[in-house]
């Protein structure tokens, strides 16, 4: 729910376990307590998508066994070992920070990653601001960081299971040739398209590819998106890494993001066990989601999503069943 800073302060002071997202300046004013936070001014809430630096999104997490841990780029790989045997971990990393790059590039290779339930998001800022920075907050210590991650590890009672899932409105356009990459990377020069090695930037320009649509990777039948950041010279910069050995396609276009999300959300049965959700800022912007109510999955609009690994243009959600 979106609340005033005063209400957020009162919730923190009540001792509840909270996930908080909001403008950097508002997060910095909150007292210490049982919370983690990250900066964004974009939200999906009860009244639809909104942009505000006056309200804060607070998600109450009804769990009483937890630990809050900060990580930097050198320690982030330890996040897997810190997870509870039965539980989930909610992590926030600041956009374009060393810990963001490290998590994005290396997490898929961490032993035991998929045996834990790790989700989260990439903190950002208002896109028209030149003065803001993406920050995370370890509310327990009060540490605000532009370079480190804040993670909340929650232990669930016996008989409860954490389930992370995604809603991806994009599908691969199989009328286009498949694309393969030689290495896990955020910056691509060459790739293999239709069996031929080509410069990816040149290919995108020559074929006038709409780079508002993501690359869709096929992970054993699950479609996982990587978004285009920018093309500079002969290099394509991405918001999440492409991976070696994965077959990618450019995505098919989506006419109406709101309807596409609603159709997928309607397929989910009983929403009473949702704990947390976040959605990508590129969906928010390209899909015109400001003012559009997507249903009961509320939370921050983010500069990247974490569902075990960093992904893009996707709604990630957690339920505890």
């Amino acid at each position: 729910m979106l609340v005033t800073p005063e209400k957020a302060k009162a919730l923190v002071e009540s001792g509840k376990l909270l996930h908080i997202s909001g403008a950097e300046s508002l997060l910095k004013e909150l007292p210490r307590g049982n919370w983690i936070g990250g900066s964004t001014e974009y939200f999906l809430g009860e009244g639809g998508g909104s942009v505000t630096d006056a309200l804060i999104s607070v998600v109450e997490l009804p769990f009483d066994r937890f630990k809050i841990v900060s990580y930097d780029a050198d320690s982030i790989a330890g996040i897997v070992g810190d997870t509870y045997d039965n539980g989930f971990t909610l992590a926030i990393v600041p956009f374009d920070s060393p810990v963001h790059r490290k998590y994005a590039l290396e997490s898929a290779q961490w032993e035991g990653l998929y045996l834990s339930a790790i989700l989260g998001w990439v903190a950002g800022y208002h896109l028209s601001s030149t003065r803001q920075t993406a920050v995370t907050v370890n509310g327990y210590t009060g540490a605000v960081s532009e370079t480190g991650a804040a993670a909340l590890h929650v232990e669930l009672p016996q008989g409860k299971t954490a389930q992370i899932d995604i809603i991806n409105i994009f599908e691969p356009d199989r009328e286009r040739p498949s694309v393969f990459f030689a290495e896990d990377t955020l910056e691509v020069k060459d790739c293999a398209i239709g069996g031929k090695v080509v410069n990816f930037a040149r290919h995108l320009r020559e074929n006038q590819v709409n780079t508002k649509l993501p690359l869709v990777g096929d992970y054993s039948g699950a479609y996982v998106n990587v978004s285009f950041k920018e093309i500079v010279g002969d290099t394509v910069y991405l918001y999440a890494p492409v991976a070696a050995g994965i077959e990618y396609h450019l995505a098919r276009g989506v006419d109406d993001y709101e309807s596409a999300f609603r159709e997928k959300l309607d397929l989910i049965e009983d929403s009473s066990d949702y704990v947390f959700a976040c959605n990508c800022i590129l969906n928010f912007l390209y899909g015109g989601l400001e003012g559009k109510d997507l249903g009961s999955l509320y939370g921050p609009v983010t500069f990247g999503e974490i569902a075990w690994q960093v992904i893009n243009q996707t709604l990630v959600y957690l339920r505890v069943r």
């Binding site: 998929y114 299971t161 899932d165 054993s220 069943r321």
Partner: protein, 73 residues
Amino acid sequence: MRITDAQSKKLLEYSGTVQLKQLAMSFALTRFKNKYKANPSPEVIASCTNDLNLLFSKYESIMRDDFAWITSL
């Protein structure tokens, strides 16, 4: 819910349409398929069996459909 090395081998060599429901299983299988492609050894199969069985035992309540599909191959 446990799979055998023989079932893991079938899964790793399967090239048809994959019908997994849990994203963690899709990510884990993709990782093992890549490992197996680079090194098609009994050790990689055994490691795959071990990790998938850990997933089944940890997330038994949400992995039943994926277990049923894998064991039907």
